[in-house]
Symmetry: C2
Subunit: 300 residues, 2 copies
């Protein structure tokens, strides 16, 4: 089965919720995406951590089918983010961001990874995402995630990146910000004109829209009564999506639609637990059950 | 085929958009719902207008299969609402509301309508909605629409109404306001506990959620690039939904799911034209085409 490559952050998160706090739990875009993708296909991870990164986290990732040959361990401390969620989990505020060793991260793709066909450029500086692209030989599908920060401060690099990838994933606010269109259809068509054949706009609790060529697919979010921790849901979505594509070794429209539903499925599990706790306990049967729940939710 | 009964407002709307204005066009919850429902089943309308209500509007409604035996014409002027939409049509501001003859509206259901099995209580004072209920003999399905105003100023009457109907339709903000729950699943379950077996929460451009017993169905809105006038979309949704139910003469889960999609279908046409212009020109073939577009949009 083809592998997928994930490049992104590996981090500790300190999370504060209304009634409890979780200091220094495992996080980072590459971690969430890798664990999610590895439910479907072998994953190669490229990232950087400090000497303080614990063996337990290494073992956890390895046990999940994640190849860490691209994880640099360097002198210094691991990226640490601390934030507080609003009581209803609909927004969050950063308390502090210690980039630490991540500040000097220059992704080096091991030679053994350069022919990997499915590539996820997690949400990092678009200049670095472009550097990764230069090191990849013949990808079948490159997907990239981004955030409002890069739209603000690295707009040119981001546009250059968008021009060169196959699938852009972003949320509704970012799509509006990057294109100036409040109408999401117009925004998506504009983004497709910038380069990628495929654009996915995430709408949080309202689900996601997939634009593939002229085609549109809409999937709702699974209605959940209890959300524990929204951290990493977007990275999980992207990772699972790419993992499913790798497993099928296909980028046709029907595969992409199902990939979006598997992305939503993993994301729905992700938010049920703090950090990656639920993501690592869910098994194939549970995945399949929830995939079928999406079918039941949407069939008429 | 069984008929459906609609009780609500019949009005003139003066609509201001970014680049144009439309003075005194046909509007009102009962008008939108009746025209939408009449695409599927015979409709009986109960409402009130003044002597200024033009023959052309009467002819239009009659030509659409709407029975006006319950439309009172009284001395005075017809209800008139004037408002201005924001440039992106996402919000609107009332400039003036002249209730006119609608201020003294006390719905009288003609004897010939009292056995009508499918009843829509359009968005009017819940005290009046309750008065209509008293005049109905053996309905198979009563649906009611409401708005934030009644949640604020007629909360007790609204709760009494909710206790006695089968299907409540409201938007996400109203659901949160009425229940105090920000989570829409919790809000819907709470509303079901108040009385109705079925609750539909409308989410505007994000579609709608149908809660029927323990079952949940989610339908996205059809992605539209060009919206001309959002007025009446909610009434159109409800009217078409009930019209389809009447046509099928069934309230089972599968019928309700399709009814929600037909409601969304008509609503998507409604917003493409100003006032009821698009709603009266769409034919059965176009309806069916767009219904299938919803299937294509959501199938995986």
């Amino acid at each position: 089965m083809p592998s997928m490559l994930v490049v992104g952050s590996v981090a500790f998160d300190t999370l504060h919720f209304a009634t409890e706090s979780h200091p220094r739990v495992l996080g980072g875009s590459a971690v969430y995406a890798a664990i999610a993708g590895a439910h479907f296909a072998p994953v190669q991870l490229v990232g950087v951590v400090g000497r303080d990164f614990p063996d337990s986290a290494i073992h956890l990732l390895r046990s999940r089918n994640v190849d860490l040959g691209g994880l640099e361990v360097v002198d210094g401390e691991t990226f640490h983010w601390e934030g507080r969620y609003s009581d209803d989990l609909s927004s969050r505020q950063t308390i502090r961001t210690d980039l630490n060793v991540f500040a000097d991260f220059r992704p080096k793709i091991p030679d053994a990874y350069r022919d990997t066909p499915y590539v996820m450029l997690g949400n990092i500086d678009p200049t670095l995402q472009l550097e990764v692209l230069e090191q990849i030989r013949a990808p079948k599908l490159v997907i990239a995630d981004t955030m409002n920060l890069w739209i603000d401060i690295k707009n040119d690099a981001l546009r250059e990146l968008v021009r060169r990838i196959d699938l852009l994933i972003l949320n509704d606010e970012e799509a509006m910000q990057l294109t100036g269109h409040k109408n999401l259809i117009k925004a998506a068509r504009n983004l497709q004109d910038m380069g990628p054949d495929t654009v996915i706009i995430k709408k949080g609790e309202h689900g996601a829209l997939l634009f593939e060529g002229a085609d549109v697919f809409a999937v709702p979010a699974l209605p959940l009564e209890a959300v524990a921790d929204p951290t990493g849901a977007g990275d999980t979505f992207a990772g699972a999506l790419l993992g499913y594509v790798a497993k099928q070794d296909s980028v046709d429209g029907a595969t992409l639609r199902r990939a979006v539903v598997y992305g939503s499925t993993l994301a729905s599990y992700c938010v049920e637990g703090v950090s990656t706790h639920r993501l690592v306990t869910v098994d194939t049967a549970a995945l399949q059950t929830r995939f079928e729940q999406f079918r039941k939710l949407t069939t008429f």
